[in-house]
């Protein structure tokens, strides 16, 4: 079976993003605000495929990221399933050919992921919850959105070709 070239390019771009996530993030001094390139890869995949693919990919990615912080095992899968499905569904209503619109979607998705994960894990309350959702999460979402912009620019040749199904 022949795999279309644009799908191979997309897969390669996503692999690069995932590898960069694990190679670059430990080098950030402030790891709390380091960009989440795995989330960026998930969003890039989700908005280029069907919502079901986004949901399944979100579930799998969430489960794997949960495995390194097992006290909230399942919370990431729950949050990213919703994010993946929503990003795939957004494809029908958002004609995002604009870099800033893409950055806005990544920012919103990153922040919403944190909100869902906090709700599902139920580990933060009061001031800590406010600090996380109003300060730390937006800051991390901002760095993720900037990283998504850079990735879109650098990998534009590979990401431009969007598999329809």
């Amino acid at each position: 079976m022949r795999v279309p070239a644009d799908r191979l390019k997309l897969a390669a771009a996503l692999l690069i993003l995932v590898a960069a996530h694990f190679v670059l993030r430990p080098r950030f001094a402030a790891s709390r605000f380091a960009p989440d390139l795995v989330l960026v890869a998930l969003l890039f995949l989700a908005i280029r495929t069907r919502p079901a693919v986004g949901a399944v990919a979100g579930f799998v990615v969430g489960l794997l990221t949960d495995a390194v912080v097992p006290t909230t095992f399942g919370a990431g899968a729950f949050a990213l399933t919703i994010i993946g499905f929503a990003a795939g569904w957004l494809k029908a209503v958002v004609f995002a050919d604009n870099l800033l619109v893409n950055a806005l979607i990544v920012f919103a998705a990153s922040w919403l992921r944190d909100v869902l994960q906090v709700a599902a894990s139920n580990q933060l309350r009061g001031g800590a919850l406010g600090l996380q959702l109003l300060v730390l999460s937006p800051a991390a979402a901002l760095s993720t959105a900037v990283a998504a912009l850079v990735a879109l620019f650098v990998l534009r040749g590979w990401l431009a070709a969007a598999p329809s199904r």
């Binding site: 694990f22 709390r32 399944v56 949960d66 390194v68 729950f78 499905f85």
Partner: protein, 288 residues
């Protein structure tokens, strides 16, 4: 970016989404005893390449920092050589550092903290040492400044530590010369890793601000004398029977980058002198 205009959000998509959502909720509802082995199996198999990649990146960062530190030390020594009176003081400091390492001696494993971007970073920490390196479940995790947490689960080359900032973490603590005991936990509602509480202090006992609090050694997990934090002030007086104090932690887990995992065989030891927090007792060996 090309965005298609096909009809999306069909019933099949919604059904797949619902299945994934229900599965994730089922996993969330699993008891801890099932979640930990499942997570451990994922780390040992699917995640092994990325955890290895991340560990190598952390080592690389550490090596770069070592080079920078060595360069700084070389510069300092060059300056000290030019200023002979300062050289003696510099030597004293280096000797003190060497003594600190020698005091802890054996019975510990060095580990890198592989920080994650998730919300739980600072509550649980992924460490770069595991069973092969001698890490055991429940083993205490300490940094040069004091207590970080305890090991929650162990894989072959990695382990997960529950930091003191985790809502479920408790450690028996004592102050001054061991006459006053209490239990330390993270303060709920505060930023993770920012403050902790010392609970269960008898009403008759009053602790001045700045009093160091260390592990008591009770419970058979944490050695006696590991710094936990210092008293910042009284919080409440429950029913006139006990007091709760606010503590400034010795270590912020989210900022820890390099830790020591103590072996459980050291649980009976007294490490007060190792951390230079309290005056060393006459007998700092294993307690009876």
């Amino acid at each position: 970016m090309t965005i298609g205009t096909e009809r999306y959000g069909s019933r099949a998509d919604t059904a797949v989404f619902a299945v994934c959502l229900v599965l994730s909720l089922l996993i969330l509802a699993l008891p801890q005893a099932l979640r930990l082995p499942l997570a451990s199996a994922l780390r040992r198999t699917v995640l092994l390449p990325v955890v290895t990649l991340e560990r190598q990146a952390a080592f690389s960062r550490e090596e770069r920092q070592d080079v920078l530190a060595l360069r700084a030390q070389r510069d300092s020594l060059a300056l000290a050589a030019a200023l002979l009176p300062a050289l003696e003081a510099e030597n004293d400091q280096l000797r003190a550092l060497l003594r600190l390492g020698a005091r802890v001696g054996s019975g510990y494993v060095d580990a890198e903290v592989l920080h994650q971007t998730g919300l739980s970073d600072g509550l649980t920490l992924l460490l770069s040492a595991g069973r092969r390196e001698g890490v055991e479940p429940l083993a205490p995790v300490v940094a040069p400044a004091g207590l970080v947490g305890a090991i929650l689960s162990v894989d072959a080359h990695t382990s997960v530590a529950m930091a003191w900032s985790h809502p479920d973490f408790r450690v028996s603590a004592m102050v001054e010369d061991g006459r006053i005991f209490g239990v330390v936990a993270a303060r709920r509602g505060e930023a993770a890793g920012e403050v902790m509480e010392l609970r269960g202090i008898a009403y008759r006992d009053s602790l001045p601000v700045g009093t160091p609090v260390v592990t008591s050694g009770l419970g058979g997990i944490f050695p006696r004398g590991v710094p936990i934090g210092t008293v910042q002030g009284a919080l409440s007086e429950t029913g006139g029977w006990e007091r709760t104090y606010l503590l400034k932690p010795a270590v912020h887990p989210a900022e820890a980058s390099h830790v020591m995992v103590l072996r459980l065989e050291r649980a009976a030891d007294t490490l007060t002198a190792d951390f230079d927090t309290l005056p060393a007792p006459a007998d700092s060996g294993p307690r009876p």
